[in-house]
């Protein structure tokens, strides 16, 4: 019997298997994309490349904030094999309790196959010792990273600091991963988005055991782009000198370049070495600083609210002149029955009143501004007058946003109708209730930055540019556009001359309150302030600018519990001006007197 036909059945079987295979292959390889996705997910690992933070230079190109190489000690818990905890703890210099704590935190974070940070920011010198033995402890490895470094160790609050991101930052900005650092305060915070750079991503293949292999070529990886370098407005030499002068004192020095609003020096005393707040010791050091009774972390320059004292008289003069309430020639008797005064004068004109800081004079000037007698009701009249005055004042940047880039600035307080209505009730107060604000006392509160800005306004004869920390973003960039526009105060330039002349007399005339601010060869214009503190010593205040006709620097100095403005703030201020303009000090005795002074007991 011939079974020849059966070959067709066999061929049919074979061909149908082929067809089934081809269809299956087509479906798997050409149609179903999920295998591809899964293969990528399993074989590739995306590693985020962290960019180095941008550097910060001072106005002369000196490094203010730099980066340094450090190592993070990482651990993959599932890779730990028979760990000798004691010798490991000795190696990384921690206690066994600390070790247990760290591992517990890592376990809590979850993902035993993932790399966790066991200890961050180890200095290369320490890491060299650790790395020598690290191979003995499986599961642990070092990972290079960078950390901030402050070469000169100055201007801690101006620079700010970096710290671990908070949960809030993680939630609000998807740029951040839990191990990231973020700017906290100062330039680091204000220019975080410029400094942080752009993260890169690189794809690695990993083998079937999860071990990372070579770079996956051709995938859409991107390299990390370092953050922008910033050129700050600070002058490191001047800053250093200011910090030196403020040693053993509480208070601050703020120096501005009047024409540009650039901050030349930003001293908040007592300060601290910003290098304390990086690396492994950061936490402990931070706690120490928080607990320090002198509050070194408190940014007095922008958060300290002080009564301005007599420097306020210049603002009053300018507003009154602009609105025609006084003329330079206006004389007012020094009637000391309502408000005290000092020095031998009795019937000053405006220049004299500023020079002698005549309290009754300015009490009367303020009275004219508040009691305009436009309304019959004297309470309503006073309220209207006060608010109109307040609007003029706020144009100087008092009680309103100065527009600075320094984070955490306070606006201060310029009381108006609303404020006094709240305290005394509507129509329950008149000028006689509130007159102490006429001479910069009472409910007035301003920050030292606003004081420095006042000096700049006077130096500029009527305008200012908001004080700012950064003059150039990136190597070829510029400053932010808002720091190129002048803000007008509404007071015409002509009215400044009388005030400036008076300020010059304050320093240069033998009867002036600020004889200690004299600098040979430089026309310094200044005004002292002595803010009363009841039984405690007065705060010593001095604002000044120089040279008179081409102002290059405006400085505000505020020394807490030091005494009169002329005796401490004025010489400190003049030393700053001299240092900046001449880069040398002509009177070493003046310097010596300041350096040895100490006002920390209150």
């Amino acid at each position: 019997m011939d079974f020849g036909n059966r070959k067709y059945i066999l061929i049919f079987m074979i061909v149908s298997v082929l067809v089934i295979f081809v269809i299956r292959l087509f479906y798997m390889q050409a149609r179903d994309e999920s295998w591809k996705d899964r293969a990528i997910r399993i074989t590739e690992k995306a590693v985020v490349l962290k960019p180095p933070r941008g550097l910060v230079y001072d106005r002369n190109g000196e490094l203010l904030i730099a980066n340094q190489a450090v190592y993070d000690l990482m651990v993959i818990p599932s890779d730990i094999e028979s760990l000798d905890t004691v010798s490991f703890c000795n190696l990384v210099s921690i206690t066994p309790e600390d070790f247990i704590q760290r591992m517990a935190a890592i376990r809590k974070a979850g993902g035993s196959w993932k790399a966790h940070e066991f200890m961050g920011q180890i200095k290369p010198s320490d890491y060299a010792r650790i790395s020598e033995h690290l191979h003995e402890f499986s599961g642990f490895f070092g990972q290079p990273s960078t950390m901030r470094r402050y070469p000169e160790g100055v201007a801690p609050l101006f620079c700010g600091m970096v710290g671990k991101v908070s949960q809030k930052d993680l939630d609000s900005d998807e740029y951040y991963d839990p191990r990231d650092y973020i700017g906290l305060g100062g330039i680091e915070l204000a220019y975080e988005s410029e400094l942080r750079g752009t993260k890169g991503i690189r794809y690695f293949f990993r083998d079937h055991k999860g071990v990372t292999m070579e770079v996956a070529e051709g995938r859409l990886d991107s390299s990390a782009i370092a953050g922008e370098d910033l050129y700050s407005t600070l002058d490191i030499d001047l800053q250093e000198y200011g910090e030196l002068l403020m040693q053993n004192k509480k208070g601050c020095i703020i120096a501005l370049e009047p024409a540009t609003g650039e901050i030349l020096a930003f001293v908040s005393a007592p300060g601290y070495d910003p290098n304390l707040l990086v690396g492994r010791e950061r936490g402990a050091n931070y706690q120490k600083l928080v607990q320090d009774s002198l509050k070194p972390l408190y940014n007095r320059g922008v958060q300290g609210l002080y009564r301005p004292g007599s420097i306020w008289k210049m603002v009053q003069s300018l507003v009154a002149l602009q609105n025609g309430f006084v003329q330079p020639s206006t004389r007012i008797a020094c009637n000391r029955s309502i408000i005290g005064c000092h020095g031998p004068h009795s019937y000053d004109d405006l220049t004299g009143a500023i020079q002698h800081s005549c309290n009754p004079y300015f009490r009367e000037v303020m009275k004219r501004m508040v009691e305009q007698r436009k309304l019959s009701n004297r309470f309503e009249d006073a309220a209207q007058g006060l608010d109109s005055w307040r609007n003029n004042i706020m144009a100087f940047g008092f009680g309103s946003d100065l527009g600075t880039d320094i984070p955490g600035t306070k606006t201060g307080q310029v009381p108006g109708k609303t404020y006094y209505d709240k305290i005394y009730g509507e129509s329950r107060w008149a000028y006689s209730t509130i007159y102490s604000i006429a001479i910069g006392e009472g409910e007035l509160l301003i920050t030292p930055l606003q004081m420095a800005n006042l000096a700049a306004i006077i130096a500029n004869r009527g305008w200012y540019i908001p004080p700012h920390m950064v003059r150039k973003i990136g190597n070829s960039g510029s400053k932010l556009p808002e720091y190129l526009e002048k803000r007008e105060t509404g007071v015409d330039a002509e009215h400044f001359q009388v005030v400036i002349d008076a300020m010059q007399r304050v320093v240069e005339v033998d009867g002036g309150t600020a004889r200690r601010a004299r600098i040979p060869g430089i026309e310094v214009c200044g005004k002292t302030g002595t803010v009363q503190n009841g039984d405690l010593p007065d705060h010593s205040v001095f604002i000044a600018f120089a040279p008179k006709n081409d102002p290059k620097i405006a400085v505000a100095v505020y020394v807490e519990y030091a005494g009169s403005g002329g005796s401490w703030a004025a010489p400190i201020n003049s030393l700053m001006i001299e240092k900046y303009l001449n880069d040398s000090i002509s009177d070493p005795k003046k310097e010596e007197r300041i350096l040895t002074a100490s006002f920390l007991e209150h």
Partner: protein
């Protein structure tokens, strides 16, 4: 392919016999020499010594059970220095020759039951020895001889029976895995539904026979139908029993069957091979990722990728185009062998050729089916591709003996 699969950047040279690809390269050399030898031997020698070769391969199969080395749970290798010999790869050739010789030259009528029994014994002996190793993959290859015997007159029912049992087996495993809420009886294994269905079919069948079959054939058909139904129920019951107990199939074999049917998913554990294998092939896409560019291959995600799972390398590196090319070449070869078989005057050569074609077909079907997830994971190499000297030599012998026999087809008059 083995170069890709076993690629080791530190030993990139293909001639490095410390690496798999180096060894395989050497095996290819040996096989080239072997093929020349085989082609130079009279075809008659193979016919005459068929029994002898068969006996030698049988002996080796017994030997391996005694002195063999166990690798991956199967005692299938005889270690000789650095190399191991896998007798089962050669027994395919021995059995093919013996079967061809028995059916072609013993001058017996294949239709006789006794002859068929003897033929089955020739295949069954090595198969039984392989079961003892155990090596289920190679065992399945021996099932391929049924195809060759079918060509020579074995009842076609056996193919239907085979196909039917596979279908029924799959259904019963699927049903046994799920449970149903039976009326009055409550929750129970789904397998009983199958019994009910078979019973219903039997009843329908009886009605069908009463209506359509002539009365004088009725008795025979009824008996046949009864036998088939009993066989079916018995088969379902035994499948269920096999899947329930651990005695017949090892647990991991059952797992593989259940994974293949999609009943359990465990890509990290039991289903790891299958999952990674499908992933490698599937991710290859239409044109593949390129030579040495497949990360799943490169980083050893697919276990056994140089041996049984070598098709995944083709799939990942060369994609759909590469896979289809390879499949077309293989099926072309099989069809070509059938063509060669059909032009023989010698019955021996024809049967032998069908044996070769069937073996290749079985290897291909199971291996490629396995890597694509169409068949359970069964260890069986892809001819000429998988790493392994024995397999390569075995297939070289199979093919070149056929070529020699084919070359002599004009001088044969039987």
């Amino acid at each position: 392919m083995i170069y890709s699969a076993g690629f080791n950047a530190e030993h990139a040279s293909i001639f490095n016999i410390g690496q798999e690809y180096g060894k395989q390269f050497m095996f290819i050399g040996i096989c080239a020499v072997l093929s020349v030898l085989v082609l130079n031997v009279e075809g008659n020698f193979y016919i005459q010594s068929a029994w002898g070769i068969y006996a030698v391969t049988l002996f080796m199969l017994i030997l391996v059970l005694v002195i063999g080395t166990e690798i991956n749970g199967a005692k299938a290798w005889i270690k000789m220095g650095n190399f191991s010999l896998q007798p089962s790869e050669f027994s395919k050739m021995g059995t093919s020759l013996a079967l061809a010789r028995f059916i072609a030259l013993s001058k017996v009528e294949f239709r006789r039951f006794e002859t068929r029994l003897k033929a089955l014994a020739i295949v069954g002996a090595p198969a039984a020895l392989i079961v003892l190793q155990p090596d289920p993959g190679t065992l399945l290859v021996f099932v391929a001889f049924i195809l060759a015997m079918y060509r020579e007159g074995l009842s076609g029912n056996i193919l239907i029976f085979g196909l039917g049992s596979v279908v029924l087996g799959v259904i019963s495993v699927l049903l046994a895995f799920s449970t149903f809420d039976y009326p009055f009886l409550g929750e129970n294994s789904g397998i009983y539904i199958l019994y009910v269905i078979i019973a219903l079919i039997v009843i329908l069948l009886f009605a069908f026979i009463r209506v359509f079959v002539l009365p004088r054939y009725r008795k025979r058909t009824i008996v046949q139908a009864l036998v088939w139904s009993v066989l079916a129920i018995g088969f379902v019951a035994s499948v269920d029993f096999v899947m329930q107990s651990d005695k017949v199939l090892k647990p991991h074999h059952k797992d593989r069957i259940q994974i293949m049917l999609g009943l359990i998913e465990d890509p990290q554990g039991k289903g790891y091979n299958m999952d990674k294998s499908k992933m490698a092939i599937g991710s290859g896409g239409f044109s593949g990722k390129g030579y040495l560019e497949g990360p799943l291959t490169k980083y050893n995600y697919v276990p056994e990728q140089s041996t049984d799972f070598i098709f995944t390398v083709i799939g990942e590196e060369w994609g759909f185009l590469g896979c289809v090319t390879v499949l077309l070449l293989f099926f072309g070869l099989i069809l070509r062998i059938i063509f060669i078989a059909e032009r023989q005057r010698s019955r021996f050569t024809r049967i032998y050729a069908y044996c070769v074609a069937s073996i290749l077909f079985m290897h291909l079907t199971i291996n490629v089916g396995m890597v694509m997830g169409l068949a359970p994971v069964i260890g069986i190499p892809l001819p000429f591709f998988s790493y392994g000297g024995s397999s390569l030599m075995g297939f070289t012998l199979l093919i070149f003996i056929l070529l020699r026999l084919d070359a002599e087809r004009m001088s044969v008059f039987r």
